[in-house]
Symmetry: C2
Subunit: 213 residues, 2 copies
Amino acid sequence: MTSDPIQTPRNSYRHGDLRGALLQAGLDMAREGGPDAVVLREATRRAGVSPNAAYRHFADRQALLHAVSNAALGMVADRIQVEVDAVATGPDPRADAHAQLRAVGEGYIAFAREDPGLFRAAFSVPDNLQNANDAAKAGEAGLTPFQQVGRALDALLAAGALTAERRQNAEFLAWSAVHGLGMLVIDGPLRGLDERMIRSATDRLLDMVERGI
Amino acid sequence: MTSDPIQTPRNSYRHGDLRGALLQAGLDMAREGGPDAVVLREATRRAGVSPNAAYRHFADRQALLHAVSNAALGMVADRIQVEVDAVATGPDPRADAHAQLRAVGEGYIAFAREDPGLFRAAFSVPDNLQNANDAAKAGEAGLTPFQQVGRALDALLAAGALTAERRQNAEFLAWSAVHGLGMLVIDGPLRGLDERMIRSATDRLLDMVERGI
DNA sequence: CTTAGAATGTGTACACTGTCCACAATGGCA
DNA sequence: TGCCATTGTGGACAGTGTACACATTCTAAG
C-alpha cells in the first residue's frame, strides 16, 4: 500500500494547516503501529510537503510524538466519557458513584482494546503529575483521563462511599490497576485472551478496586 | 563517553561467545535508554565485530530485543526473589502468605524504580499467556515473575486466605495493579514523586490488592 | 591426516531515517 | 509599495537495519 490519501496536491505555497495535517498523519501512523511507527518523514509525505517543513511546527520527532500522545489521551478521555454518560443514574447516589468509577475503568480498557496502537502512543511519552491535567490532554468535555478518575472518586466521597482519608491520592490506585490491565491485555501475558476472559478479568479488577480502594 | 569497554581486540577470527556479548551489550543499552536504545550496530561495535555478524545469532533487531526482554524479565524475577527471601516467616501461615504476596509486589516496583530502562525493555515485546512461563524469562530460581505471583497466590490459597474461586486467575488482578503502578511511577503521572509518596502509594496499592483480590 | 562442508565473521551496498543549513516563496503590516 | 517574519524547499550528512556475496575457521567423515 502506498502512502497516498486523496490529498489534493495543494495549489498554494502555504499548506494552510500543516501542523494539523502532520498531527493527523501521526495519529494515523500511531493507530496502526504504535509510537515507533510515527515517522516524521512519512508524516510530511502524507501531508504532501517536504520533510523539513515539519520543523516549522515541531522541534523534532519527539515533539510530534508528544503532540500525538496528547491527542491520543484526549481520545481516551472521550471514550471514557461515552461510558460515563451511558451510566443510568438511580435513586442511590452511592451506587451511582460506584457505577461511575466502573464506567471510567470500562472506557479505559475499551479504548486500549479498540485502539492498542493509540493507547501505547498515548503513554509513550514520559509525563508527570504537573502535566497530567494539561488541557492539551483533555477530551471534548475538557477533562483529562486523570481528571475523570478524580471526578469519579470525588463522587464516591460525596456519596459517603469513601472516607476522606481513603480518597486522598486514590487516583493512583485506581489508575494503576486499570492502566496495568490495559497494558497486559494489549501486549502482556493477557494478550489474545478471548472476549469472555477479558470481560471477566475487567469485572473482577474493578471489583477489586471498589473493594480495596 | 565512547563505546569502549576494556574489550581486548580479539585475536581469533571467532569471537567465542558473540551471542552472549551482543545480549550483554543490549542489556547495557536498554539499561540506560530503554528499548529504543538497543541498537544492533552499536551492539556489534561494543562486541568488537562487524555489523552483520549479529545476523548469525539474531534474525533481526527485534530478535535481539526479544532476548534482552527475556533476560530483563529474569532479572525482575531475581529482584522479586530477594524480597521474597527476606520475608521472615512467623507462626501464622496466613500472615506469611500475605507477606509473600506483598514481597512480590515490592520487588516488582523496586526493580522498576532501580532500573527503569530494563523494566521498560522487559515489557516492550508483545507477549501472551503461553509464553509467560517460558524458561528464558526465568530468574536464577527458575521462576518467571508471572510464576512468582502464582506461587504467592497458591500460598494464600493453601493458608485458607483465599477461596478457590477467588484464586482463579487472581494473577491477572495482582499483576495488573503492580504492573500499572510500575509504569506510572517510571514514566507516567507518578514520575518524579518523592520516595515517601511512592512508598505510600505502593503500600496502599498492596493493601488494595490484599483486600480486593 | 586430509579435506569437504557447516558455522561464523567481513565488506560492500541500499533504502530509509532524523536533522542541519542555505535558499525561495508568500502574506501581512508599516 | 516594500520590508521582513513565516513557512516551505533542496541538498547534504551521519546513522540505522538488513541483503548479498565472500572469507575464515571449526569439525567431522573418509
